[in-house]
């Protein structure tokens, strides 16, 4: 199960397992993100390189227009993946 929830405060919540099977759907769901956004990962249990690639693509698109993502509430395993991928140099991680 994977969901993208858009909160009233403008933040985006990633929920569940963000694996290769969710890649195309996630791109479609996140296509509407066009400005700086907080991505809440509190309920994100798992992510693979496919999911990281979607977030990377979104960050690149936003940076082209002077915006960026801020990722918050990453669980320790996902936080470690971001470190291994050196994504902590690309994303604001709170």
């Amino acid at each position: 199960m994977f969901e993208v929830r858009f909160a009233e405060d403008g933040s985006v919540q990633l929920v569940g397992r963000f694996d290769a099977a969710q890649q195309e759907r996630a791109k479609e769901l996140l296509a509407g993100v066009t400005s700086s956004t907080i991505v809440d990962c509190q309920e994100l249990a798992y992510i693979s390189s496919a999911g990281l690639g979607v977030l990377l693509g979104l960050q690149k698109r936003l940076m082209d227009s002077g915006h960026r993502l801020k990722l918050v509430n990453l669980n320790p395993h996902i936080r470690e993946l971001f470190r291994l991928a050196m994504f902590d140099a690309i994303f604001d991680i709170g």
């Binding site: 397992r17 694996d19 290769a20 798992y46 693979s48 390189s49 496919a50 990281l52 690639g53 990377l56 693509g57 960050q59 690149k60 940076m63 395993h77 993946l81 291994l84 991928a85 050196m86 140099a89 690309i90």
Partner: protein, 120 residues
Amino acid sequence: MFAFLKARLPEGSADEETAFCVNLAAEELFTNMIRHNEGRGDHILLELEVSAPRVFFRFTDYDVAPFDPKSVPAVKLDSPLQERNPGGLGVHLVKSVVDRVTYEYQDRAMRVSAEKQRRR
């Protein structure tokens, strides 16, 4: 595949990291097999062995052409954002989260094995 792993991987806080890493490595190696192996095989065998010291798994893809995993370009982790792309990231993550990855090719079957030591 995930349901298969979930039903068989050890549970509990000490094994939480092991389960996460095995799930990740299995997904990355499986999707790489699908992406890179050229052949006529229509199924991939997954074998899993859980023991006290380790979790071991192996994918076997039958009737495929040889594939050299070293041909996948290494990911450039320190590139600026606009030059970063996800290519090669999966292989890098697998090498980082498991203790050993082995590729074998014999009789037109490609076997990829991985081993993760369990935290004691």
